[in-house]
Symmetry: D2
Subunit: 330 residues, 4 copies
């Protein structure tokens, strides 16, 4: 931790900072410049509360030096992580495309969905649980019965299957039906109880970025899962109200060893999905999540962003041409 | 719903839009201008999916006309709502100040907290559950045991008590200990299961604004509670990464009849809390939420934003002078 | 223009709105739904001030229907625009890469810069004028003398040359030295006097997006140039404080017929530039702007984002492989 | 400057950093912790380029320690600055309200404007130059002739007068007409040529915050004026696309000795202006800027945010009651 003193801070104020550092079992390291005194606290930074220093007189500001995430940092694990979800290698040369339905309503034609995923040669079917629609007077976008049906259909076609969850009840349904991977919804990215539970489960986790989460908050959420013992984590970026920031892909590839995906449908219109998907893999993403629907115009929600079969196949064809130019394959 | 056609849309495309409107049981209303055709759908807009129209050829854009929130709208309830939390009138002439502790750690001196609230004549004690700290290697900021202790201490001093919750487990603890009001944490503002449960419970709810929630998403969350039958809702604004937007106060006072509070501590530093609190009531807020701590430098988290007793008393004194100038009182 | 009345608006209030519409020479079109009255104003929307309606009693909100930009809209010009800058075709099959130096300081080795651009087969050399550095005690990043030297060096190598400007003085220097294209800096995107002047000049303009400009504000700035008679406009997107939003590329390709470029260096670190550049062309950009420097560590400003020769050549090689997979070439 | 090395950085990498520090004439100060090596550069930080270090192998990140603004910092001038604009004391006990017209069109009734300002006892009349309207097919909101008329009317009523400028031509007109203060428009906050010119002029400057400017960019712009010798600077905060962040007021009052104003009209609707104005002074602002118009419904632009006479007088009355509760007066 670095404590920058105010200009003209008094010696007694400097001494008070040093006393606090020593009281926590760390060592101080004092730099006296022409203008400023800066005090470094050497040792385990996690034992210091920055507020304690900020409230001391004469202190200008306090900043951490070490990162709070360690297991997911590339510093401690320079080689990129790869693992399998029911046979599909994540984080390898192959770019994996996961296709799914965001809204599980009673009318969803389960078999058409599964056929679409297979016809387009996507590698995994996912099912959403996070309603796009907050209108209390309408269907909320999730029926557990439908999740079970989809999971069964996927299995009968030997398709890996992932279920999105936002609370413990969907987690239970998912585990009871032995899904192949779990997706933590964006609204739950900072739910520490869920994160800890996912750390204890032996299933890969796709961790969506929280709606307003900084990159370090996101990596700390991944760290919480990893700290529980589950290291099979995919980070999945998605559009926010500010659009889809493509700079997070190279940032994450440098900062963490975890595989990085992009959800190219969330928050988009269907006509922009191919451009976003292509950009994501060109920026280095290891995979994509896409919204699909056999008949998007009939979907109660999200029909504006879901690809139909022809659109999905056309995109997969385009990606198959681009991937080799990036040294990868679909 | 208004459907704006593209320039030079064909008659057959206009007809296809009209057909969809009629199929949903609504009536069309077509405006043909020099440049544009605009089609209004007259009737219950909730029966139309905008995606259905967006995917039709020749359609430029689709926009809703009616608001999705109705019960919480001032349109349907022009007079401001007021109600009591254990004797404290919310939404009346009196500005209510709720003081609380954000982090419930084992070392928290429960009696000192209660004494502070009383000494400063604040009207309610609240307890947080949403950790400021996402570091998996540290205490997460919530111990249920401490919540129970605080609730008991508040009762013994006849202080109203509110507990913040982020999942069903804290809700159960809160109900089992008969708290006087419930606070829904910002990270859970779009948790529809929790919102619906709060609609069924006969306790006032303080609904914090979600981290990246728009004003209409926030009002829809309130609508979800109200639709369940619970109309005792306080909207509580707080700082985001973009600062504390004070314009939301007059907007909400115009748009909804619900009481509006501001959390002047969240995301702030302690030295700016008085300015934010004063600004909030000058902008028309009905109350404040404040972080307090008997010894902020010792708080494991949030010590940089918590007022100590002297600071709290000084602020209450200032507010007591300002309130009458606004036609209100503390 | 659409005027949505408040619930329960009175007939006299509706009549007052209609009177205003007629007074401006337009025709009204009234939709009376179960809940709402909506009034359309049919005719030339530009003759109505929305504020006039917003201030009338009983009016809930007012929204424009037609777009304010017309000449740059794809509605009125469905085919993409292409034009040449000294022989380099913009908006065609070839993706054009423009390399440049952002800071023109006295020590800049002009010949090394020109050689770099040629060695890497970039198609144009550009020179910046918008300092990255606002420190009043340091060099501001622009020396007119250096601009003249760079322009001369480019001409002697038959390289097209573009100069960035932020005020009329740089515009004069640029015209006096007969540059091949002009770049309007991001901080000047809403300078209407400069925009109008660029509309009168017979030179292609690269219009950077303003720092906080919405897409429609940006397109209106382009419209201002086009309205003056200059239709050779490139829109150049760049990172903001929210990162580089890649969704603007497909949006612009749909909304306007103008060529779209991406500045992949602005606001980035050098190690992320290749990922951003690749993503930009995969999303459909017609060209790139890149920062280069013969010796970035010696650059007084912007050295953290400038590519050196080896990095530039490596990126050009990668782009040459990717472009054909997108049906284009470098 | 602090250079944090990567975990496991090699000794040779540390040595290379130290060599660069010494080459620039500064001294290094090396902290070796259990995990990290951190190197401080002691001396004049302005002589170091952070990019130079960022490009060295083994460097994790580089951060400045001292602030780039010095003259405007409260560190170097602990007492708040106050000065007069033609008799009106700025930064004193009195809260100053400046009323003005944002759009100078031919039809503006100059005498009614001046009478309004006087009738409401506002202390200064200002005139805008920054059009709210970017539509190239409409009036741009500024006529120099009208500025001259307004200035004459103000003088004949002994009202101080301030003119907003966005380029050198309006500056010349303003100086030729001997205005009492100059307002730098938000779009020009980072125009270094204009800032330097304002530093040379012996007239108070009201410096609006740039559209996307950080607080330190804003303070650096003020520093540029101060460095030229003009210390009569008012910082004027205003709403952005994220609303009106009230936390900037206490931040600025702590960070700088300059007076702080708030423009309560910019980006607002007229019905929220009183709430914003009240909040601003409750948060500690030294003054307000307000939009007024004798007949807002007839204003070609900005009529939705301008107060009419009755609204202005009502607000002034409210402020006169609140100010004493804050230890100030109107």
């Amino acid at each position: 931790m670095m404590i920058v003193m105010q200009l003209n801070a008094e010696e007694a104020q400097v001494a008070a900072v040093i006393e606090q550092i020593r009281a926590a079992g760390l060592k101080e390291h004092v730099s006296r410049g022409a203008e400023l005194v800066i005090i470094g606290a050497i040792g385990d930074e996690d034992r210091l509360s920055s507020a304690r220093f900020e409230r001391l007189p004469g202190v200008e500001r306090v900043s951490r030096v070490t990162k709070q995430y360690k297991m997911v940092s590339r510093d401690t694990h320079p080689v990129g992580t790869s693992f399998k979800i029911r046979g599909a290698l994540i984080g390898g040369e192959q770019i994996q495309v996961f296709a799914g339905v965001r809204s599980l309503d009673a009318a969803l034609p389960v078999n058409s969905v599964t056929s679409m995923v297979q016809a387009a040669a996507c590698r995994l079917l996912w099912a959403g649980s996070e309603s796009l629609n907050q209108n209390p007077y309408e269907f909320n976008g999730f029926e557990a019965e439908k999740l079970i049906e989809l999971r069964a259909a996927a299995r009968s076609h030997a398709l890996p299957f992932a279920a999105e969850l936002n609370d413990f009840s969907v987690l239970e349904t998912s585990l009871a039906n032995d899904v192949d991977a779990l997706i933590l919804g964006a609204r739950s990215m900072q739910n520490r109880a869920l994160l800890r539970e996912l750390g204890r489960i032996n299933k890969p986790v796709i961790l969506r970025r929280g709606l307003a989460a900084s990159l370090s908050e996101w990596l700390l959420a991944a760290e919480t899962i990893a700290a529980g013992g589950n290291h099979h984590i995919i980070l999945c970026e998605q559009a926010t109200k500010n659009g889809l920031d493509i700079a997070t892909i190279p940032f994450l590839k440098r900062e963490t060893h975890l595989p990085v995906f992009v959800d190219a449908s969330n928050g988009a219109k269907v006509w922009m999905v191919p451009a976003l998907a292509q950009a994501a893999i060109a920026a280095g993403a290891d995979g994509l999540m896409l919204d699909i629907h056999p008949n998007p115009a009939e979907a109660p929600h999200g029909g504006d962003q879901a690809l139909d079969l022809a659109q999905l196949q056309q995109l997969m064809t385009a990606l198959a041409v681009i991937a080799p130019a990036l040294g990868r394959r679909i």
